[in-house]
């Protein structure tokens, strides 16, 4: 009974995807990505092809991949087609999604055009998920690791993110890393992404190449936790605890200080002192110029050339 049911599901899914397939295709240089799109998205498709040419090889190299498997990329015009490609599995608000199991990326063109996130970042983020899955050959990795790696590879971290992260830490809104192995909490998704980025950055801060080792061990052993231990000498759980302490040490104290009255009193005094010093210097300079003018143009200070 089970085999026919699987086959029917597969055929239905295939049918759903093929009816949604746009009619034109562009193949990115390198030969490993095929982009499917409608005519009016040709410009975007070409831009996507350029971005893949620019980024994919370097990103693959960071993960230790020498040859990228073929990837299908769909540019869906809007939410309707985007959702039809992978019904029920993607959040409506997302600009793009990736399905590592069948090596596909789907871009919601409408959302990308309206989004503040540049296409470059959106694409790199999804590409990173695909490449990571290829590297670990489908072995399961915790969500925080996948998202953290994707954010690092897409260079998706700004001063605003840094500030938001600081606030999240201060307000104790930052999730515990070990709670982010599966789906991110819906109400705290942003902090979860930032936490993932922070953790992976910290993990690779000393030895960037450990990313290759960890993913290779994960591939060989099929067990992320074991691979993590063999690479870093600590378990992911110990790492989570360490990150928690690190964040508290690094940020919470700074923010606590920034929120205290003595700190702001000190800052006000510092600004006042700086202002008075600057004013004194300006007055000194002014007096100096007056003296010079007196010497040059006499007591009345009028330049004969201007009079």
């Amino acid at each position: 009974m089970r085999a026919p049911a699987v086959a029917i599901t597969f055929i239905l899914l295939l049918a759903a995807v093929s009816t949604a397939l746009p009619e034109e295709r562009v193949t990115a240089a390198g030969g490993y990505v095929t982009i499917y799109h409608r005519d009016r998205y040709r410009e975007m498709a070409l831009r996507v092809a350029d971005l893949i040419d620019e980024s994919a090889a370097l990103m693959a190299n960071q993960l230790g991949i020498s040859r990228i498997d073929s990837i299908d990329l769909y540019i869906a015009p809007g939410r309707e087609e985007y959702n039809r490609l992978y019904p029920g599995s993607i959040p409506e608000w997302s600009e793009a999604c990736s399905h590592p199991s069948d090596m596909t990326i789907c871009i919601n063109a409408d959302a990308v055009l309206k989004s503040q996130r540049p296409l470059r970042i959106v694409l790199r983020h999804e590409l990173s998920h695909i490449l990571l899955a290829q590297r670990v050959e489908g072995a399961r990795c915790p969500r925080w690791f996948m998202e953290g790696v994707a954010m690092i590879q897409s260079r998706e971290w700004s001063l605003t993110d840094q500030w938001e992260f600081l606030l999240a830490v201060w307000q104790k809104d930052c999730p515990y890393l070990d709670d982010l192995t599966g789906s991110f909490p819906p109400g705290n998704r942003r902090a979860a992404y930032m936490m993932s980025y922070f953790a992976v950055r910290e993990l690779l801060s000393e030895r960037e190449e450990d990313l290759m080792t960890l993913t290779a061990f994960t591939r060989d052993l099929g067990d992320f936790n074991r691979a993590f231990f063999l690479t870093f000498g600590e378990t992911p759980q110990d790492f989570s605890a360490r990150i928690d302490v690190l964040i508290k040490d690094k940020y919470r104290n700074i923010l606590f200080l920034a929120a205290s009255t003595p700190f702001w009193s000190f800052m006000v005094l510092l600004f006042l002192a700086a202002y008075l010093l600057k004013r004194r210097r300006s007055l000194g300079k002014l007096r100096e110029w007056e003296e010079e003018e007196k010497e040059a143009f006499g007591e009345n200070g009028i330049d004969p050339a201007e009079s």
Binding site: G64, R207, E209, D210, M212, T213, L214, A216, F217, D220, L221, F229, L230, T231, F232, G233, E234
Partner: protein, 354 residues
Amino acid sequence: MEPRAGDSVVVGMSGGVDSTYAAHSLVREGLTVAGLTLRFFSGMGQQQESLDELAVKRARHICERLDIEHIVIDAGELFRGRVVDYLVRSYGSGATPNPCVTCNRHIKFPLLAEAADRLGAGWIATGHYARVEIFGEKPVIAAASDRNKDQSYFLYRLTPEILERSIFPLGRVGKDEVRAALEDIDLPARERESQDICFMGEEGLEGFLEARLAPSPGDVLNTRGEKIGTHRGSCFYTVGQRKGLGVAAGTPLYVIRKDTDRNLVFLGEGEELLSRKAVCRDIVLTERLMEMPLRGKIRYRHGPARVENLIISKDEMTVIFTEPQRAVTPGQSLVLYRGDLVAGGGIITGDGKR
């Protein structure tokens, strides 16, 4: 396989903090523990023999406190033949050897295993800061969780047969935890710790080599081949050494290389010590771990550096680092790491420059 309560283990006991902790933690885990102290220095003179005496006395005291059996084995002859002779020969040929690597490979661990076999114990243990991990269904040495104390560098030549029955209780703890644990049970935790070369007495390395190699003075040259001083014997100098050269110059000078056949020591500036290459002999490699990225450590106190490429022939390995490394010293071991796992290593013969 993990040791379980009731299993028997023989622990190498030097009377120091680390081996004491190893024995104590295994007793606490419910294993049947016996302590083994090796007399390494018998026949090497009164001073060295007194070091043995002290170790035996302390280890016996600790075993009594832990209420475990204590065994003493005389390893003097073996030690002289495999370690001391090797050390003297290496210095005589211009190298700077790691006697601990040789001792672990040929003396300490094989004798522990022998003693364990005689006592019917399945396990052996020492107070090294290292771990044994199973990778590809076989045991490999891994760096200790406390990276500052990690001693996996000294253990890279241990065979899989030895590793599969080895326990390193300090592999996942820090020095502070060791001291605290021993203070809690009032075991002596502030006593002697391992030295660089354990059998050097008051004479020091120079006196030791002087008595055995009869070195003669020779010329100190700069890298252009001009004489700039006189040395006391080339065996007293190590590549990378700066102090005690007896040569005054405007810029700091270092030992760049030695020519033992002609009894010459060459000095040069710091930059001349840099090399991206290290050539090794006597290589041992764990095939299943030989995948990039690898890191290489060219001496014990060296932050492992990223390896760009490896060229392996039948009995030689050339390691090319991504960045130049300072003072690639003949005689030292180069140990390769993949993540925290030891992938292999070899004895450095040169930096491939000359």
